[in-house]
């Protein structure tokens, strides 16, 4: 009962409601802009959250996450360009349906299935996150080390790119986390005599560089791209017949999305692809898929939005990011001095349940805003890149500088922007770098503390059952993508 009051608390706080409204609005704008989306947008907004209290900051980021994931569908349907990678599967049927003059119906179905997927996933989050956290009470340093290793090996199976390249990127992220004074011995590592580096490399310059600046460089190579826009009169609610055809698909995809979201390092992109292919497999008319099937839109959209709540489960319960955007949210939590995990559930339940409640409200808000404002949001895509990206650059440099008022942070941001561009160009995802950076300290810290406990005996790791389970799961996570690839 007390937890329910915490969940409903944002409804009674005008400040949080304003933050939620702004976050949802901002998320929708970011979602419709190809190349931005909730991850880059969250990264851009991170420095600004420093001026907010922790709960408002996280509420803002989660609202951006929920609304941004949905917003990607608007451009996917109207200009055949997914605003976010998670909306890629929505293009397959959304755009063909829009070309048939049914853009409003396509958007209506995308909105309804996104909301249902999102709401179901928040219920999954409310139910499973405390359970998982309860389980994590049993964890000591060696278990946390094994868990972090499991989280990292999941990088191999991240949707895009080669598993080995993802592992290299993850190891690079962990390496970045070793820069600065060693936390146990205070010995300088990779500081190259630069004073500013003794405190280590901050999360925000890396996150903004890898997402926003590298995207700016990517956009500079895509200037000749032409979008064919489909006219939109108004968003229409799905008809009774549409609901009849899709309700099973929506529920199935919501379950798939929530489950995939819970897996560390997976996210909306994988969820939507699986949700879409399962919708096709179970459909009575699979031949309509790719030609404007309403079930295809429902399958993809319910799954990618359901992944939002699912991805928050490991993020909040264990401190292991469930997706790229939750890695940014986790960064937001850490810079506000909040380390997610079981202790957070015990010590600050009002904080966590406030986040759950905010996600519920964000889903309802983006339904209203999306339904009535989709036409307006679609016009945002008319802002040309030649004006948009210089403005994003200005916000990025000022935001990064504002953290510690240091130009070194800005140089680091630009450097990681260039690194991120070349990584993406040659098939290395930048998401594992962020996850590696977040988990790096946890991996090294728990490894060294475990070795102190074990008096240097590495074999002691294998005498702990939970550690063994995680090591076996890690081996499976490493081997699975390779087996899958061989089969294909």
């Amino acid at each position: 009962m007390e937890n329910l009051s915490f969940i409903l608390a944002p409804l009674f706080s005008s400040k949080l409601l304003i933050v939620l409204f702004l976050g949802t609005l901002f998320g929708l704008v970011l979602g419709v802009l190809p190349g931005l989306g909730p991850t880059t947008g969250g990264a851009l907004i991170l420095p600004f959250t420093m001026t907010l209290d922790p709960i408002s900051a996280i509420v803002l980021l989660t609202a951006i996450y929920c609304a941004g994931t949905y917003g990607g569908a608007i451009t996917a349907i109207l200009i055949n360009t997914p605003g976010t990678p998670a909306a890629a599967a929505t293009c397959l049927d959304g755009y063909p349906l829009a070309q048939k003059g049914e853009a409003g119906r396509a958007l209506g179905m995308a909105t309804v299935s996104s909301v249902v997927g999102g709401l179901i996933s928040v219920l999954v989050l409310i139910f499973f996150a405390p359970l998982l956290a309860q389980l994590a009470y049993e964890f000591g340093q060696p278990e946390y080390f094994a868990l972090a290793i499991f989280g990292l090996t999941m990088l191999a199976s991240i949707g895009e790119g080669s598993p080995i390249k993802n592992l290299i990127a993850g190891a690079f992220g962990i390496l970045i986390s070793t820069v600065g004074k060693d936390f146990m011995t205070s010995i300088d590592r990779f500081t190259f005599g630069i004073n500013e580096l003794t405190e280590g490399i901050g999360f925000i310059p890396v996150v903004v560089g890898l997402f926003a600046i590298s995207e700016m460089l990517t956009q500079s190579t895509l200037l000749n791209q032409v979008f064919n826009r489909v006219a939109l009169k108004a968003v229409k609610l799905p008809t009774k017949d549409d609901y009849k055809k899709t309700w099973k698909t929506i529920l199935r995809s919501s379950g798939i999305g929530s489950f995939i979201g819970v897996l560390p390092a997976e996210g909306g992109t994988v969820a939507s692809l699986i949700g879409y292919s399962e919708a096709k497999r179970w459909s009575k008319k699979p031949e309509d898929f790719g030609k404007g099937s309403i079930e295809g839109i429902a399958g993809a959209e319910a799954a990618n939005n359901a992944a939002t709540g699912g991805a928050m489960v490991p993020t909040l319960a264990l401190g292991i990011p469930g997706s790229a955007t939750t890695a940014v949210i986790l960064t937001g939590l850490i810079i506000h001095g909040v380390r997610p995990g079981p202790d957070l559930f015990r010590e600050q339940p009002e904080f966590l349940y406030g986040i759950f409640g905010s996600m519920l409200i964000a889903n309802i808000l983006f339904f209203i805003l999306g339904f009535f404002g989709a036409k307006l949001f679609a016009r945002i895509t008319l802002v040309p890149n030649k004006l948009l990206w210089p403005m994003i650059f200005a916000i990025s440099v000022c935001g990064t500088y504002s953290l510690s008022q240091s130009l070194t942070d800005v140089w680091i941001m630009l450097l990681f922007g260039v690194i991120g561009f070349f990584m993406r160009r040659y098939g290395f995802s930048v998401v594992p770098v962020i996850i590696g950076l977040i988990l790096g300290e946890l991996v090294e810290g728990t490894l060294r503390q475990s070795l102190v406990i074990f008096e240097g005996n590495w074999l002691m790791f294998f005498q702990r059952p939970i550690v063994l389970i995680f090591f076996i799961l890690s081996l499976i996570a490493l081997g699975f993508p390779l087996i899958k690839k061989k089969k294909i």
């Binding site: 030649k386 210089p390 403005m391 090294e444 060294r448």
Partner: protein
């Protein structure tokens, strides 16, 4: 050399040392090897203070892992080569050059002058020819950002020829 470039553009098979996979693998291994060498210069903690492992051990292990994995992707690329990327357009190099210009101007002249110059040049070379819009992104928008950060967030920007005029 120009023949090689032409071949690359035509997408025909290249000698292995000109392939993207070789160049990328070489760069990763080179940088990792340099960093690995640097880890040998880290101070060593006396056994009495050393809790668990030496501070250099973890980065060393990571770098060896990166080098090993890179060797694997390199050998895999011999069997199945990577998709050859298209040549980067001029606008990319201009944008990259603008970053360097921004670094120089913001360090030695003025932070906001750097932002304005970058915005104007990028906007122009990305295809904007309307002066009013170029002025908007290069002057008006940075001013809005400055006011927002300065007054609402209470941030003090680094001194420079334009910023000092405001602060004085």
């Amino acid at each position: 050399m120009s023949n090689v470039r032409n071949k690359k553009r035509a997408g025909s098979s290249l000698p292995f040392f000109f392939k993207d996979s070789t160049i990328v693998s070489f760069i990763i291994i080179l940088i990792s090897s340099i960093l690995l060498y640097i880890t040998f210069t880290f101070d060593i903690v006396p056994p009495i203070l050393n809790r668990g492992i030496q501070p250099a051990t973890f980065p060393k292990a990571l770098l060896l892992l990166i080098i090993s994995l890179t060797l694997i992707i390199f050998f895999l690329s011999i069997k199945k080569s990577w998709k050859e990327e298209k040549k980067l357009p001029t606008e990319f190099y201009i944008t990259l050059g603008c970053f360097l210009l921004f670094l120089f101007v913001s360090k030695f002249l003025d932070f906001f002058l750097g932002i304005s110059l970058l915005s104007a040049i990028v906007s122009y070379f990305w295809g904007e020819r309307r002066l009013i819009f170029i002025l908007f992104v290069s002057i008006l928008f940075p001013i809005i950002v400055f006011i927002f950060f300065e007054t609402i967030l209470g941030l003090r920007f680094p001194s420079g020829i334009i910023t000092d005029l405001y602060y004085s």
